[in-house]
Each structure stands twice: as structure tokens, then as C-alpha cells.
């Protein structure tokens, strides 16, 4: 652009959105809400062979207040659901949710009295990962999908308000 030609090579111009999103998507801090089998595959994703840190998301934080990506991996029972909701509420905005595996997404093979048939009834989910459990590659793909979503975000106040609105509507 014109400004850059005046200021020379050592300057670039960009938008606030782009800078912020670039920072956000390359340093996701996941909150692993791992309950069952999928948590083992999530551990495999973080370990040596698959190494999630290649995608900038290896800084696992078990405190919801320090994280921005929740990975719900495993079965969620009716006793666990209020806990999950509470932890989701404690995460600061902006936040994203991956529902990993069949059980978290729709109850999976467990169509029983005690299992929540899909956490998206109670918290907004951004990316679903199919599989029982999904392979580590699937989880990596989901993280990349989240990165893509973040790329489209904007930091403007109006958008944030809209996001809040959607989130409230989902929660009911």
C-alpha cells in the first residue's frame, strides 16, 4: 500500500484482527476435559509421536481460567454435566470447544439413562470429532479447524456481543 512505500521495508501494515487472530490461533491453550477412553488418545496426541506442539497447542492447562480451548473428550454423565458447564463458564472469552469422540458428541454407543446424549445441548460446540475414539490425527485436524475458525474472528465489540448472544441462545 501507499504507506509502506513511504516508510520502507521495515514496516508492514495490517489490521488489528489479523494480528490478534494470528497470535490466538498459534498459541491455543487447551483445557483437556478428559474423562474416558478419548482422554487416552488425547494423551497420545500430546506425546512424542503425534506431538500437538507442532500446532502450538501443547500448553495444556488444567485451570479453566488460563485456557481458551476446551477439549471435551469422553463420556459425560448426568453427574458430570454440571461440572462441565461450571468449568466452561469459568473460561474467559474468547473460548472454543472441541467435542472429541462419539460419546461427547452424541452419546455414542451408550444410549443409557445416565449419559448426556451430546454435550452441545448444554454448551456451544465449535468442532465435532467423529470416532470412538478418534485417532490422534483426527484431533490434530480438529485443532486446525479451530485455527481456521479463529482466523475468521474479529475483536470488534459488536461481534463479541453477537457471539455472546449465540452462546446464550444455545445454553437456553
Amino acid at each position: 500500500m501507499g504507506l509502506e512505500s513511504k516508510l520502507g521495508d521495515s514496516f508492514i501494515t495490517t489490521t488489528i484482527d489479523k494480528v490478534v487472530n494470528w497470535g490466538r490461533k498459534n498459541s491455543l491453550w487447551p483445557m483437556p476435559f478428559g474423562t474416558a477412553c478419548c482422554a487416552i488418545e488425547m494423551m497420545a496426541t500430546l506425546a512424542t509421536k503425534f506431538d500437538l506442539s507442532r500446532f502450538g497447542a501443547e500448553a495444556i492447562r488444567f485451570s479453566p481460567r488460563q485456557s481458551d480451548l476446551m477439549i471435551v473428550s469422553g463420556r459425560i454423565s448426568i453427574k458430570m454435566m454440571p461440572v462441565l458447564r461450571k468449568i466452561y463458564d469459568q473460561m474467559p472469552e474468547p473460548k472454543w470447544v472441541i467435542s472429541m469422540g462419539a460419546c461427547a458428541s452424541c452419546g455414542g454407543v451408550f444410549d443409557t439413562y445416565t449419559l448426556v446424549q451430546g454435550v452441545d445441548q448444554f454448551i456451544p460446540v465449535d468442532v465435532y470429532v467423529p470416532g470412538c475414539p478418534p485417532r490422534p490425527e483426527d484431533l490434530i485436524d480438529a485443532v486446525m479447524q479451530i485455527q481456521k475458525l479463529i482466523g475468521d474472528e474479529t475483536v470488534s465489540v459488536a461481534r463479541m456481543a453477537k457471539r455472546e448472544e449465540i452462546s446464550q441462545a444455545t445454553l437456553g
Binding site: I78, K79, M81, P82, V83, R85, K86, D111, T112, Y113, T114, L115, V116, Q117, Q121, F122
Partner: protein, 185 residues
């Protein structure tokens, strides 16, 4: 060996020592003895269940000192069992194991809905504590003398007893309706 002798042996196999001893002491309370697939089961009257288990544990020669498992069965859809035990709907099942001889024994105690309380065995085995709580949680059977009888797997405000046969697999809508304001989560 003549044929008559073999026949006699087949007809009357000697009862295991455990059963003989139990019959000696609790003759009135032993309802049935089943020896099936190499597993020995004794059905015992509810009034004597604690005494029988205590005897099995404490007796020096038997010493069934390891409580493997306690569970219950709802027999409401098995007509023949219901008839056999005077329409007692539930059966509490104890699995015992003797460490020294490594023999296993199953003790079954019928519990009818009219008198829904059975004596707790926590005094004999610490491991019975949670197992009995689980039975209370899943079947609603009460345990007399249990130190802390409350729900264990289901939430405290849950209604119904999931492992009863009349409780539907998919529940009664508990998994959709939520009380997020629940204390103590």
C-alpha cells in the same frame, strides 16, 4: 469295579465340607445348594445371612476371608426363581474366596419387597461398604447397620433405581432435564 458301584457313586456324590458344616449349624436356614459348572452356590434365609457369612469368614477350617463381590439381582422377570423362593423379588449375592485353599463360594440371600432390609456385612469386611451402597443406589435395598448408606454412583437427587427391571434403559428423561444450580458439584 462292578457297574452297581459306579452307579452308586454317581447318584450320591459327597457334599463338599463347607455345605456339610453349614447344614450342621444352620440346617433350617439353608434353602438350596446348587453345584453348577464347578461353582458352588448356597441360598440362605435372610434371617441367618449375617451369621452364615460370619461363620464362613471366622471358622478356622473354612476361612473364606476374602469378600470378592457383593451384588444383587432383580428376579422379577424370571418366574421359576420367583416361585421357588416365595416371590422374593431380589437376591443379594455374595462371592467369597478362601485365600489358603483358593476355593470359591457363592452365597445368595432372597430379599422380598415386603421386608426390604438385610443386615449389612461391613462389620466383617470393609470392602462391603461401597458395594452395599451401590446395591442401595441401584436396587433400593436397605442395609441394616451400614455406617453411611447413601447413593454412590448416581447424583444425590436422583429418583428411581436404575438396575431394577422396570426401570427403562434410556431413563425417564433425567439425561435431558438439568438442575445446573445443584449444590455440591
Amino acid at each position: 469295579m462292578s457297574e452297581e458301584q459306579t452307579d452308586a457313586e454317581v447318584v450320591e456324590p459327597p457334599e463338599p465340607i463347607v455345605i456339610q458344616q453349614l447344614r450342621e449349624r444352620f440346617s433350617d436356614h439353608i434353602l438350596t445348594v446348587i453345584d453348577q459348572r464347578g461353582e458352588l452356590s448356597v441360598v440362605v434365609d435372610k434371617d441367618a445371612s449375617f451369621q452364615v457369612l460370619e461363620f464362613l469368614k471366622v471358622d478356622f477350617n473354612l476361612s473364606y476371608d476374602f469378600l470378592v463381590d457383593v451384588t444383587a439381582i432383580d428376579y422379577s422377570q424370571m418366574e421359576d426363581v420367583l416361585i421357588e423362593y416365595g416371590y422374593a423379588r431380589y437376591m443379594v449375592v455374595y462371592h467369597l474366596n478362601a485365600f489358603l485353599t483358593n476355593e470359591r463360594l457363592r452365597v445368595k440371600v432372597p430379599v422380598s419387597e415386603k421386608d426390604f432390609t438385610i443386615k449389612s456385612v461391613v462389620a466383617l469386611w470393609n470392602s462391603a461398604n461401597w458395594l452395599e451402597r451401590e446395591i442401595y443406589d441401584m436396587f433400593g435395598i436397605n442395609f441394616d447397620g451400614h455406617p453411611d448408606l447413601r447413593r454412590i454412583l448416581m447424583p444425590d437427587d436422583f429418583e428411581g433405581f436404575p438396575l431394577r427391571k422396570d426401570y427403562p434403559l434410556r431413563g425417564r428423561g433425567e439425561r435431558e432435564k438439568f438442575n445446573f444450580g445443584r449444590e455440591n458439584v
